[in-house]
């Protein structure tokens, strides 16, 4: 077992943790923002998938990774607004609406890919771009830390910055105050003239933008193609991370790291020829266990929700 342990505690493994945490972190931040405004965003999975595809298509057709990034973010925002429209204006149950959008995304992305590039399931023929890697000047030369944090995809750094930005936004700005009030007591906000719907629309748009960044990382920073269902449930894991993180950006960050660890572990063990399927189960089983343990500690006798 020695080589396994040695590998797991190596700097390169730690670096890989940060890398795989990125999409989950983005999505969980999106989950937090939406949830604090009072809307449960189940559609994160679909948002990420659509953004992953859009990033690939846009970057392939324009030859620019950044255009792809913008396209991904924009499509995340768009899905957020659609979810908002159906839930807020037409009063669709938010969970069912999210599920509908995820279904649409899962198959719709395959449909659009085929229509655009005649690729069935994998964007093999599209010359999509990749988001650049960044090397932080002085930091990368620090002995152990440098290997972990000195050289990462720009989106990974962006995700870490996002944690801080989201925190400041929620707790230090006046719009953040309104957002939290809307989530806690929409009637109160309404009675002072705040448009609850407008605030929630914006929250969903922000949520979509963050999920979009996560999706772009999957298809343009992690690997350089789009494949069917490539999100593999990360949008749902992000929901668990949000709950574990107590609906707070910093908590979500720590929780996402935890899930990132299991994801990285799963990837690494696959390369060791442990039966692939078994190892692939790890992140999902861990999520299940964490969910159970965490929810159990939250449970107050007789005061549970029906979410």
């Amino acid at each position: 077992m020695h080589p396994l342990l040695k590998a797991v505690f190596s700097a390169s493994f730690a670096a890989s943790i940060l890398r795989v945490t990125t999409p989950i972190l983005f999505a969980s931040l999106g989950a937090v923002v939406a949830d604090l405004s009072g809307v449960v965003n189940i559609a994160l999975e679909g948002m990420m998938l659509i953004s992953a595809l859009m990033g690939v298509i846009a970057s392939a057709f324009t030859g620019s990774a950044w255009v792809g990034f913008l396209a991904g973010v924009a499509s995340g925002i768009l899905v957020g607004l659609v979810l908002g429209y159906f839930h807020l204006k037409l009063r669709t149950n938010v969970i069912l609406a999210g599920i509908a959008l995820n279904l649409l995304a899962a198959q719709g992305t395959v449909f659009v890919l085929y229509a655009v590039a005649h690729d069935k399931g994998v964007s093999s023929s599209l010359p999509s771009k990749v988001m650049p890697e960044v090397q932080l000047p002085i930091i990368k030369d620090i002995p152990v830390l440098g290997a972990i944090i000195g050289k990462q995809n720009i989106l990974t750094y962006l995700s870490l910055i996002a944690v801080v930005v989201v925190y400041l936004f929620l707790y230090k700005t006046s719009f953040g105050l309104r957002l939290r009030a809307v989530g806690e007591n929409p009637d109160a906000a309404d009675s002072v003239g705040i448009s609850v719907h407008k605030v929630r629309f914006i929250a969903l748009a922000i949520s979509g933008a963050l999920a979009g960044m996560g999706g772009v990382h999957l298809s343009m920073g992690y690997v350089s193609w789009f494949s069917r269902n490539m999100t593999s449930g990360r949008g749902y894991i992000a929901l668990a991370a949000k709950a574990l993180g107590r609906n707070h950006p910093i908590g979500a960050f720590l929780a996402s790291l935890l899930f990132g660890v299991t994801d990285a572990l799963s990837n690494y063990m696959q390369s060791l020829r442990v039966p692939g399927e078994f190892v692939q189960m790890i992140p999902y089983v861990v999520t299940l266990v964490v969910l159970a343990v965490y929810s159990g500690r939250q449970l107050k006798w007789g005061r549970f929700s029906n979410e």
């Binding site: 006046s174 719009f175 109160a188 309404d190 002072v192 003239g193 448009s195 007789g302």
Partner: protein
């Protein structure tokens, strides 16, 4: 306001003309209502529950859109489609159910929607300073940095009022403001309202408490079934006349107390030294009480002093940290709601829409929820549809539930009828113990009379009733014996209710006076006092 021709003192500052509002379920809440308020007066809007008072004010405040009608403020016609518009025209509303975000502070709640900022950043210091200044100006001091969840009800109401005043409202609407206050807090509120009137504000307050209306208002408008019956000067109309206008008939508001049983009857409900800590607060402290067959034990007290928690523990909806509950000589401590019901307990919950009914389910489905696996409704496994239908028809008739069919969804009934469904279900199983928590809240006088009748009738067959009621007058007139709860403790016990005054009980309710705990327990449990 600009140069204008001198307005006459009696020019209406607010005129609502021809307002009609119909809800999606067909309920006509307001029908061609014309309502006029003069500047600088205190104008009361009265009516039974369901008369349309709250709807009318919601229309004024932009929370509901009228189907017909127009609103004039200071002589100009205005379109109010949201609270923002109403606030802009100087209308501020203090709602019956406070519109506050619990985890935010007093200052944050007050400035919400008009937050002082430095760029995009929220200027907390300025917000707190503004609150302090506001409190000083109007004599309604509050601590700006305190969290709403930590602050008592009377202070929360102040925050609501300050919210309205901060936005420059000179027309203040208060919806049932004294529903949650003690007699003393009510006095303080009235002082504040009178001084606001002197500063030139106009006040509309909705109430069904006619004595308060008499004391505070200049004029009163009566609504019944969505229509205006009349507007009078308060000093020219008696309480009886007003009440007649509200109900359309002479109502004798003298509920009858059950005949006190001859000797001490069997103890059907016994609660011994209950303690409960929730979220760090000691919500029940050594609470003991007992209720005997054929009597009503009343629990007086301002809402939020442990009554809800007491009921939750007794009925099995919440555990307790220590203590015991005995129902009909069986240990009910920590048992499930189903097991406790099987011991012979029925429960009329405080929030009927949340606990008492499933509003999208039919009346029949709601009527069987406490006997769905017992004969004749079921053989333990399958439901007997014919028996259910028969039972439903029987109960609808017996309890006078106004409906066209037992299949009608409960949510479409009026408040009074919904409560009748709850009572029909809970009373018809021949319970030994009934826990009645605010049983007449939010229902009209006619239905209230019926509820009182059913409660007293139940005692005639030996049922013990625990009645929790925030309306002091009501609980005093129905109870054989009375306890007062304050901050989770039983602070007073009265063996005899006849001859007590509301003022005296009010002192206990506010914690200004308290009996010795040992004396309380001993005399209630019938033990000799040391």
């Amino acid at each position: 306001m600009g140069a204008q021709t001198q307005a006459r003192a009696t020019d209406p500052i607010l005129l609502m003309k021809g307002i009609t509002k119909v809800y999606p379920n067909g309920l006509v809440a307001n029908s061609n209502v014309t309502f006029e308020v003069r500047k600088g007066e205190i104008h009361a809007l009265v009516g039974e529950n369901g008369a349309g008072k709250t709807t009318l004010m919601k229309v004024l405040f932009g929370l509901e859109k009228p189907d017909e009608g127009s609103i004039f403020i200071r002589g100009e016609e205005v379109k109010i489609s949201s609270p923002n518009d109403a606030i802009r025209y100087g209308v501020g509303m203090v709602h019956q159910h406070f519109m506050l975000a619990p985890s935010l502070t007093v200052a944050e709640n007050i400035v919400l929607g008009a937050e002082p900022r430095r760029g995009i950043w929220f200027d907390r210091r300025r917000a707190e300073q503004m609150c302090r200044e506001l409190g000083e100006k109007y004599g309604l001091q509050v601590d700006p940095a305190a969290r709403i969840s930590d602050v008592p009800v009377g202070i929360r109401q102040r925050v609501e009022i300050l919210k309205a005043l901060m936005r420059g409202s000179d027309i203040l609407v208060l919806d049932e403001p004294t529903a949650v206050l003690t007699p003393q807090e009510t006095e303080e509120l009235f002082e504040a309202l009178k001084s606001l009137k002197e500063m030139g504000h106009t006040i509309i307050f909705i109430s069904h408490k006619l004595r308060e209306v008499k004391e505070l208002s200049d004029r009163v408008t009566v609504l019944r079934s969505g229509r205006v019956i009349g507007t009078r000067n308060t000093d020219q109309v008696t309480v009886e006349e007003t009440s007649r206008m509200m109900v359309g008939r002479d109502v004798v508001l003298r509920p009858m107390r059950p005949k006190a049983p001859a000797g001490p009857g069997e103890v059907k409900l016994l609660v011994n030294k209950l303690n409960l800590v929730r979220d760090g607060t000691h919500v029940l402290k050594d609470v003991s009480l007992q209720v005997r067959a054929g009597e009503i034990l009343g629990v007086a007290g301002v809402e939020g002093n442990g009554q809800v928690e007491l009921v939750e523990v007794i009925t099995g909806l919440s555990p307790c940290d220590s203590g015991e509950v005995w129902v009909c000589r069986q240990d009910a401590t920590g048992k499930s709601p189903g097991e406790i019901r099987d011991m012979g307990l029925s429960h009329i919950p405080q929030d009927r829409m949340i606990f008492g009914v499933a509003s999208n389910a039919s009346i029949s489905e709601n009527l069987i929820s406490n006997r769905y696996n017992k004969a004749p409704v079921s053989n333990g496994f399958s439901l007997n549809l014919k028996a259910i239908s028969r039972l439903s028809q029987e109960l609808i008739g017996k309890f006078d539930i106004k409906t066209s069919s037992a299949q009608q969804a409960v949510g479409t009934l009026s408040g009074g009828n919904i409560q009748k469904v709850v009572i029909a279900r809970e009373f018809s199983t021949g319970p030994q113990v009934i826990i009645a928590n605010q049983p007449t809240r939010g229902i009209d006088i006619g239905a209230t009379e019926s509820v009182h009748k059913y409660l007293v009738e139940a005692t005639e067959s030996g049922t013990a009733v625990l009645l929790i009621c925030a309306d002091l007058n009501e609980v005093m007139s129905l109870s054989n014996r009375l306890i007062v709860m304050y901050e989770g403790q039983v602070v007073a016990y009265f063996d005899e209710v006849e001859g007590l005054t509301e003022e005296e009980i009010g002192l206990y309710m506010l914690g200004l006076k308290r009996q010795e705990p040992d004396q309380v327990t001993a005399s209630m449990m019938g033990r000799p006092v040391e």
